[in-house]
């Protein structure tokens, strides 16, 4: 729990399960978290959404008009995105996949 704001962390999802240790670029918990936000934003921007880390315990998901939801983990990010957009973010959407492929080629 954060001593200043009293927020209980609840990032219990399988991508961050206890015992899952990874090496390389995002070796620390904090670095991993920031890297996840960076990669997620490459996708969320395609839907007009953006994600920000909030005190290392939660995430803020916002659209361009400022509507914001605070969520705990990845499953909740996609649930909140669906509430904001009124439709689910489909990773199999051919247009989305084509844009991501183009992004990768240009990078």
């Amino acid at each position: 729990m954060c001593g200043l704001c009293g927020v209980l962390g609840n990032e219990a999802d399988w991508t961050h399960a206890p015992g899952v240790v990874f090496f390389g670029a995002a070796a620390t918990w904090r670095a991993q978290r920031l890297e996840r936000v960076r990669v997620a934003n490459l996708i969320l921007t395609q839907f007009g959404l953006s994600l920000a880390d909030w005190e290392g315990t939660k995430y803020q998901l916002s659209n361009r008009t400022g509507r914001t939801e605070i969520v705990d983990n990845w499953a909740q990010v996609w649930q909140a995105a669906e509430r904001i957009l009124g439709r689910a973010c489909d990773p199999l959407d051919p247009l989305l996949v084509a844009r991501l492929e183009r992004f990768e080629r240009e990078d």
Binding site: D13, T15, P18, I43, C89
Partner: protein, 348 residues
């Protein structure tokens, strides 16, 4: 807490009349499963399953509601919590395994999610093999005509073809072919009253047992070698109205290491959007900058905590992921995952 400290939970399911209770009775008679508690669920007015199992006495808790499904998931949770509480207080035998027998019409996924996701239970129990019984005489028509039956077979870790003593060889062979197409990653066994049964293969050998883990993963991945033979003669003209017709199994291979961050985002997004159509996902991943493979294992919206293996089972270090999906495009899944993987830091 080490994995061994968790109590494994096996779910035995199968369509109405497919021989779940008979199988359970035979399994519970073996010494390997002496310390097993059982939860049974009756359907309808007559608790036939309960009466058949009454000799198990203290270890049976009969769920009061009709069907173990979403609406009474709380009952299942309460029943398991109660069982665990009595175990801890020493009121019943300190059972080392729990078996849940569902009704023939049950969707097994809510039961699995209760064990994996319920806040208290997930700290004491872990999911073991899901065993599905399929009747050799009527199984094919159940798979074709009953959505529950096709789904039960698709989420199975082990499939048991029952009543082979009263079915023709031809019927059994046709059923085996259909099941192999529906869920090639699950070993399929045949039983009849006179045939021996291997309780270890059915229940105790699973992904979380160190002794059987590598073998289990190898078994999943063998599907890749068998894909060339999936267009069996009886599958050439598939009736699109068949409930199992839109379910397909395939194995994707990725030669370059996958970025864990990008993979996690992709899979959580896929399962949020299409979870009800991703019946099973199992794989061994080569994660960038990670020395050994990472094993992933999911059922619909649920994903087990990933597991690290100390070493690769062979010289092939490519990522291989088995999907059993309903109505989703294999090509699109592959293309999408490739595109997402390219977004990670390890790919740049």
């Amino acid at each position: 807490m080490p994995e061994t400290a968790f109590i494994p939970v096996n779910v035995i399911t199968g369509f109405l009349g497919s021989g779940k209770t008979t199988l359970l009775q035979r399994l519970l008679g073996s010494p390997e499963l002496a310390d097993t508690a059982v939860l049974v669920n009756e359907f309808g007015e007559v608790g036939l399953d309960h009466h058949l199992l009454r000799r198990l006495d203290e270890e049976i808790v009969l769920l009061q509601s009709g069907c173990v499904c979403c609406t009474i998931r709380g009952d299942l949770s309460t029943a398991i919590r109660d069982l665990y509480g009595r175990r801890e207080r020493g009121e019943i035998l300190a059972f080392r395994r729990l078996v849940i027998e569902t009704t023939g019409l049950a969707d097994p996924v809510p039961i699995l999610s209760t064990v994996m996701a319920e806040p208290v239970l997930r700290h004491h129990f872990r999911l073991g093999n899901v065993v599905v019984t399929v009747d050799a005489v009527n199984g094919l028509s159940h798979l074709e005509g009953q959505e529950e039956s096709a789904k039960q077979a698709a989420v199975a870790d082990r499939i048991v073809i029952t009543k082979t003593d009263i079915a023709s060889r031809r019927e059994v062979a046709a059923l085996r072919r259909r099941l192999a197409r529906l869920n090639p990653a699950a070993p399929t066994l045949q039983t009849a009253p006179h045939l021996p049964l291997d309780p270890d293969l059915l229940l105790t050998h699973d992904l979380y047992e160190l002794d059987s883990r590598s073998e289990e993963v190898r078994r999943w991945l063998a599907i890749e070698n068998e894909q060339g033979s999936s267009s069996l003669p009886d599958d050439r003209h598939i009736d699109v109205n068949r409930h199992d017709a839109r379910i397909q199994a395939f194995c994707l291979r990725f030669e370059r290491p996958l970025d864990w961050t990008a993979f996690g985002i992709w899979l959580t997004m896929l399962l949020h959007c299409h979870g009800s159509n991703v019946l099973r996902v199992k794989g061994m991943l080569n994660v960038a900058a990670n020395p050994g493979p990472v094993v992933i294992h999911g059922v619909q919206h649920l994903v087990h905590p990933p597991d690290h293996l100390l070493e690769w089972p062979d010289d092939d270090h490519s990522s291989r992921i088995v999907f059993i999906v309903k109505g989703l495009s294999r090509d699109m899944i592959e293309r999408s995952l490739e595109a997402y993987s390219g977004l990670g830091a390890s790919s740049q």
